[in-house]
């Protein structure tokens, strides 16, 4: 018991010192470790907007905040709501929207590797574990500080969220062009399969936030989970598998293989890596298939 408390105290001290000193030193993982699994069904103390237009992105991407005043937006408020004073305060807008999401970003290896590759695109990492999210946040801040003059790492951000439940609270229909699902929790037991991040019913939500032509990237070291993900995306009419040739030509695939923290761990253990990409197809007009 005493030991545990000691550890917690050390962690707190470390994080406070990191904040106060405002150093650009990278955070150390050992102060942010957390159990690798989280139950996606439980009600965590999550913070999320009721809808995407009420999401305040300004703290995540401060360099992209626009300074336009909100009078323009007010005109579009429905009268009934404006009259009742029920319209929520408009959050600050960004000059561009998030287009790439790394679902279950873990310690953020992929995010950080992608940032310089797609400098014009806003990339968001989503992670359900608090400490791990904190680590990524601290790391991004440190990296931004280190690369102040080059202006690097300003296009990435991290957020604590349960994407299985609240993805549509953050993103509008067709907002994303890429979704990364890297080394997800395999949930081996058959009873826990509904907790898997890829399932037939949940794929419909990925299809909703992805624009036609957008791509879901998956990678895992568990052959059966790979089979499961391929099977479920293949079976979903909104997705088609990307051909191997095109897959290997995609620069993101190489990064995903080598730069994710879990990918490195698998590398060390001589594990296998299974990659599959799926393209979002355009929805057929309603009524064509009866």
């Amino acid at each position: 018991m005493g030991g545990a408390k000691n550890k917690r105290q050390k962690r707190e001290d470390y994080r406070i010192s990191l904040r106060e000193e405002g150093t650009t030193e990278l955070p150390r993982k050992k102060f942010y470790r957390q159990r690798a699994h989280a139950n996606p069904f439980s009600d965590h103390q999550l913070i999320y907007p009721p809808s995407p237009d009420q999401m305040d992105w300004s703290s995540l991407f401060p360099y992209y905040v626009t300074e336009e005043d909100a009078t323009e937006a007010e005109d579009s408020t429905p009268e009934a709501l404006a009259g009742q004073g029920l319209q929520p305060v408009e959050p600050k807008r960004l000059s561009k929207d998030v287009e790439v999401a790394d679902i279950g970003c873990g310690f953020g290896g992929l995010l950080i590797a992608l940032a310089p590759v797609m400098p014009e695109t806003l990339i968001l990492g989503l992670e359900i574990r608090v400490s791990v999210t904190q680590f990524v946040e601290d790391k991004i801040n440190a990296l931004r500080g280190q690369n102040q003059e080059k202006g690097l790492y300003r296009n990435i951000g991290v957020l604590r969220a349960n994407t299985m439940k609240f993805l549509p609270n953050f993103f509008t229909k067709g907002q994303l062009s890429k979704i990364f699902i890297c080394f997800p929790d395999p949930h081996f037991k058959a009873r826990k399969h509904k907790q898997r991040i890829v399932s037939t019913t949940l794929n419909s939500e990925y299809a909703y936030v992805l624009r036609p032509g957008g791509i879901v990237y998956t990678i895992t070291d568990v052959p059966d989970l790979h089979g499961w993900m391929v099977q479920h995306f293949d079976a979903h009419p909104s997705f088609e598998r990307v051909e191997e040739e095109e897959q290997e030509a995609d620069p993101c695939v190489a990064i995903m293989r080598s730069e994710t923290e879990e990918g490195k761990k698998v590398e060390r253990n001589n594990g296998q890596k299974h990659v599959a990409l799926f393209r979002r197809l355009a929805d057929p007009p309603y009524g064509e298939v009866e």
Binding site: L86, S199, V222
Partner: protein, 515 residues
Amino acid sequence: MALPYHVLTACGRVIFAARGGNIYSFSPDLQHLSAWKYPAKQAKAANGSSLEAKASPVPEEPPTKRRRVEPGKEEDSNGNGHAIEGDAPNAKGNKQLKKEKKVQDLSHRLFEQPYIQSITTTTNGRYVVAVTGSDKTIWVFEHDGAGNLKQLSSRTMPKRPCSIAITPDSQTILSADKFGDVYAVPLLQSAADQQQAESKEATPAPDVRSATPSSTTIAQPFKPQANEFTVHTKRNLRALENQKLGLQTKGGADKPAEPAFEHTLLLGHVSMLTAVVVGVHPATRRSYIVTGDRDEHIRVSRGAPAQAHIIETFCLGHEDFVSRLCLPAPAARPEVLVSGGGDDHLFVWDWTRGALLSKASVLAHVQRVVPQQRNIAVSRIYACPAGHGEDGSVLVFVVCERVPALFCFEFKGNTLYYHATIATPGNPLDVTNVESGSSSPSPRLLLAVDTITLAESQGGFSLFWADWEAALGWRLRSCQETPVMAGGDEPTFKPEDLHKILYTTESLRKTTDFE
């Protein structure tokens, strides 16, 4: 204390009222017409001691689902999906079972009784569909128009249905369940299905192609999915070896049998579903499935089974659970949706665009009845045309859990205007509109009221009429003629148990709030 009527549905000139697992039918002047009783055999099976479980006790295995047993923390009938409980008095040496059994007193059993949780009728009134909660069963009846119900089928769903809807063509039942999935089951079973049900064969029904393949249909013998490459720690490796060893000796665990009738998975949320309605697009006349869940979402998906995986939009804005969805004017304004739940307001949406049209406060009016009320849980939203519909206005009635009043709103334009509060002598449980047959210009409501909170003066009658009179406003009249059904075999309840059975909406609220 006996159960009050807790579900009311009017079907033409017949009123169906459910009490416990039984459905009673009445004429508009509340003459008792007929009754359907929950089959006793099934009641016993659902009540616990499943015979097979008794016959083959597996000593080293825990019961399939562990029940939470601390009294106070007992989940209500809504949040408690485990129907079967090992009673197994002869399973000696089974510590786990014994321990559980000890803590359970008889009253817990009452929650596991299959109570009717909803009654839905097809538009032509020929078929009646009822759902019982703890046994996860959907019952379909043929209705002769005079209150007599003939049971056609009873189908046990894979998970507990929370809300059902019937498609506009009256061919299909959509069942939204606690697991977050929406299944389509045909209203009338095919002949082959029925035969199968009779012969009690466990062979699964022919796999119906839907765009959303059910993940459970991919039945394969169990095989560990981890391998030496994916397991890194010493302990996990050992666990994997043990798993493999166990497999050789046991030959794999068997999976729960798939239901033997046609059922198609259409769509699913990760959260528990609470409501489902089918909307028809005003321009294209195409149908859409609108689902509400415990995590504040209202999702609009295409209604055609082959395209139900396509999400058209979300209606987002609720900040607490959604418990009820209602299309207030399905004919004149099919695009309008009213939703309510744990929020202080009712929300009015254009579901075709996912756009919020207006909000109407309910809490403010509740607080005039119960000043100390902090938050509300909307348990019913019921809409009916005001008068004979000459001006197209619609009355929307709202029941909030444990609030002794019915709240009436008028829907006009895009807004719900507060109209009246109808104080009731006890907490209302359900409300329905009964065709009076006379030329009275306003709707006549039948209310079911909770008997625990009912004032003594009412003499135990739990049904009330509410009529609108221009000079006096809403006038409430108790239905003295209500046949009191209490027979010798009626179970009696402690008031606190009755509360847990009747009030299940508030428990949807998340308890991990910062407040």
